[in-house]
Subunit: 516 residues, 2 copies
């Protein structure tokens, strides 16, 4: 009888891992199966395991409750079931569980702690050198990002045409030195010269990504995993249906037990010309079936949105579709989809030639505030040219821009909002105004956040309610200062500096608490 290896205890929402030895012969990825049932007072779950190479098979599980769990392992290579038990302890500090949709338009960790998304994109930061990966983690921490979008597959696109540190499959890549701009377009899915066995994964590639997911987890950062994408010279974007499904199941078996994982089915799904809507729906079906923890699920567009009203889509993961407006549509999209609106791509702070990567830090920060005050969440990226040709958006590394220094300030203000999250409020045509999402707090006129964007009034007059007294704060969103201007009641006037990117915060003094 094989020995099953496991730790005798794990924390709630931690990863409990079973491993055992099995056959190395044949093709273990497709010929062998392993799964386990997990039982506790409040939970019964069956999860599939995976082959991790070198004869090692693993099953991973994320327990959602504290207390004693039993398991029962079955495998094609095991003569009989193997059972055991382990203890789930209370979560350690900083472990709030996976992020869930909360209150229709917002997000919260499973323990109820609100999660205000401040995300960035570094497509293949984890496929860089160890040194750069460490640098990226330091940058992420310093900028206080709490989400990062990145790809499992390597990426072939401008500024990122080299070889990744590893490949997901056994085999050899094409010789990229034969490529020129003329004979290669990233989304044609041409695969000449590649020699992969799409039935044999390269476990080290995935193990490395797991290390990175865990590093992010330690920093409180969600890993928004882009499972498929079109920037490809290796053929990973045009595998067969069976190959795709094998990949999806392997990815889920390996990654789903990490509490900070989100599923992004694809980046710019609509550029993947070999895939149909039926394919995307099938992948979604696989996730819904195989991911026992219901991690957040979405899909990111280029030209046109995926139908975010599909039941499996937990939140919108939007790329803006116009050169001028982006965050300004958050309220429209909230109303349309009745889901959290995350603007993962609204033009990066940068100076490259493409219009999706050349706005300045002021404008990107403006879009963040605009999105926040309309009840949504914007995302960052950086495409600033530099002599090393290391662009944050693709490689990670150091942050060179200006906007990232100012997201933490916004985040702190979001954390102070009463209730969970902000909702847009139709105040006047010439500014955005946010109120608490909570109906009770809205009704008692507890809180108003006015944002003036690129306009620069040197004062504003208010008249909200004759009886309600408000504490007045003038917020400089760029310089990150908050100036208290006493209180106001009935009609009152707030002095402003006549600069751009200012906000006014009105908070009801002695506000009632929401009973919810």
């Amino acid at each position: 009888m094989n020995t099953i290896q496991y730790e005798s205890q794990t924390e709630k929402w931690g990863v409990f891992e079973l491993s055992c030895l099995g056959p190395e012969t044949g093709n273990p990825f497709v010929e062998q199966k392993i799964s386990a049932d997990f039982y506790a007072e409040n939970q019964t779950v069956t999860v599939k395991g995976f082959y991790d190479g070198a004869g090692i098979y693993k099953v991973r599980f994320m327990p959602s409750f504290e207390g004693r769990y039993c398991f029962c392992v079955r495998a094609s290579f095991l003569k009989e079931e193997v059972t055991g038990e382990f203890l789930v302890t209370s979560p350690r500090e900083g472990n709030h569980g996976p992020v869930r949709v909360a209150g229709t338009y917002h997000l919260a960790y499973e323990d109820g702690t609100p999660y205000y998304s401040v995300g960035t994109t570094c497509y293949v930061w984890e496929l860089q050198s160890d040194e750069r990966i460490a640098q990226t983690l330091r940058s992420l921490k310093e900028a206080r990002f709490n989400k990062i979008r990145f790809c499992i597959f390597p990426k072939h696109y401008d500024y990122n045409l080299g070889e990744p540190r590893s490949y997901p499959y056994e085999g050899t890549p094409m010789d990229s030195s034969v490529l020129t701009k003329e004979n290669f377009s990233f989304y044609t899915g041409k695969t000449e010269g590649n020699h992969w066995d799409f039935t044999r994964f390269h476990p080290a590639h995935f193990r490395h990504i797991e290390t990175c997911i865990l590093e992010l987890q330690k920093l409180g950062i969600e890993a928004d995993l882009i499972v498929m994408h079109p920037y490809d010279r290796w053929g990973f974007s045009c595998m067969t249906k069976e190959q795709d499904d094998l990949y999806w199941k392997y990815v889920i078996a390996r990654f789903a037990a990490y509490r900070n994982v989100w599923w992004s089915l694809a980046n710019e799904y609509d550029l993947m010309e070999h895939k149909t809507i039926a394919d995307w729906e099938r992948y979604a079906e696989i996730i819904c079936k195989e991911d026992k923890y219901s991690h957040l699920r979405s899909i990111h567009n280029c030209h046109g949105f995926y139908d975010y009203s599909r039941p499996w889509v937990t939140h919108c993961s939007i790329q803006r579709q116009e050169p001028y407006l982006s965050a300004e549509y958050v309220d429209t999209w909230r109303a349309r989809y009745k889901k959290p609106v995350i603007l993962d791509e609204i033009c990066y702070e940068g100076n490259i030639q493409f219009g999706w990567g050349n706005i300045d830090g002021e404008e990107l920060l403006r879009r963040f505030w605009e999105a926040a005050c309309r009840g949504g969440y914007a995302g960052h990226g950086e495409t600033l040219m530099n002599p090393e040709n290391v662009l944050w958006w693709s490689h990670g590394g150091v942050l060179r821009g200006e906007s990232h220094k100012r997201f933490g300030f916004l985040y702190d203000i979001l954390c102070e909002t009463p209730g969970l999250g902000l909702a847009p409020y139709d105040w006047k045509w010439d500014c955005v105004c946010a109120v608490p999402e909570c109906e009770f707090l809205k009704k008692v006129k507890s809180y108003y956040l006015f944002y003036y964007g690129f306009t620069r009034p040197c004062f504003k007059e208010f008249e909200i309610d004759p009886e309600t007294e408000f504490e007045i704060e003038v917020i400089d969103t760029w310089n990150m200062t908050i100036e208290k201007q006493g209180t106001g009641k009935g009609k009152f006037r707030v002095e402003l500096p006549g600069r751009k990117y200012m906000a006014v915060h009105l908070k009801k003094t002695n506000c009632e608490k929401c009973e919810k």
Copy 2:
């Protein structure tokens, strides 16, 4: 027999004026009539005259041809017709005649000289002190504006609540010291306390405006006269139909002979709640009938556009209708109305609390360039707070902003475009591109003007035609520099500084001339 006074000669498109004495008794404005026929080889026109007070009656005429003209005056107080003749000389330098629509979307003086509108708004600059009027004229000249919008009636609105230098009617105004924000809203048309005789004009008010129109003419500036408006505490916005018609006819009889006059039926016509579409159409009918020179005609909106497709409307005179986009719609509006698109109000450079008056100079200049590259024309205004409470948009005076210093640079570039005016060209999604309006020049790929607005690429790649060679200019629209970067053919790359508000100019070397 009365003596008719007149000069024996005038220049083409100058004002030829006949004057004579008549009765002062009764109400000459409504009881007497005077008109004259003018004859020349190519022109026969009958124009109505007006009573100018103190027993003086006048008839004004703008001749459109050189050579000998005859006239024949008739008046209710003249026993018989009086005839005479005068010589029309060639226009003096700088006199290009009235501005006309040219080539569907653009404008030109009657002598064929292109007119690229660079306008501003100072609603009642001409009703200020002589000193401030002189200052405004100096400012207009220095900034090289070639159009100014202003009102004939005085204005009652924030920052402009005092008495004007004169009133258009005989009578006395209300005591404005009784007004508070609470008991007076500018567009209710309440008239208590005013005592006017709406059948008796105050000629000095109009004579003064004529002086101002002439001063503008000397500077080559078009007078876009706002004949009606809603910012009123005197009742001028809610006269009866008969009173309105009398006013319109008086205005036309006095002002139409000045070649630099444009008719703006109203500012924010839709705020004038006492007027109906039928009223506006009736005023338009009066202009079309009484203005023998067919000066440009339009009407300016607040919330919703007037139907610019009405045949009498010569061009769109637009106030933007959204807080974010304005100039970006020029091509849409061109396509919809098939007329010149002038954006007379797209938010002023300023820092007042209202969202229509608090953008910075960079953003206003951006809107000018955006409008120009889409084949339209933007308008300036300034609402910068200052200790004297003298805001350019209302009073004129000195310019305190940054944008006005940079319109002349744009104007010079427009003057250099081949053919008449620019047309939008669908290049790529992330910039605007202008080409000549002329089909021939478009076809031969003569000229491209790319504008990058708030994006800041540090280079751009071009591929227009394998055979066409272009002279490359990099334009910094803010710093007003033009850097020549040699020539490009086939695929070429243009280096940019990675700053905002840049443009690239590509001009075909050895370009064919348009034969038209």
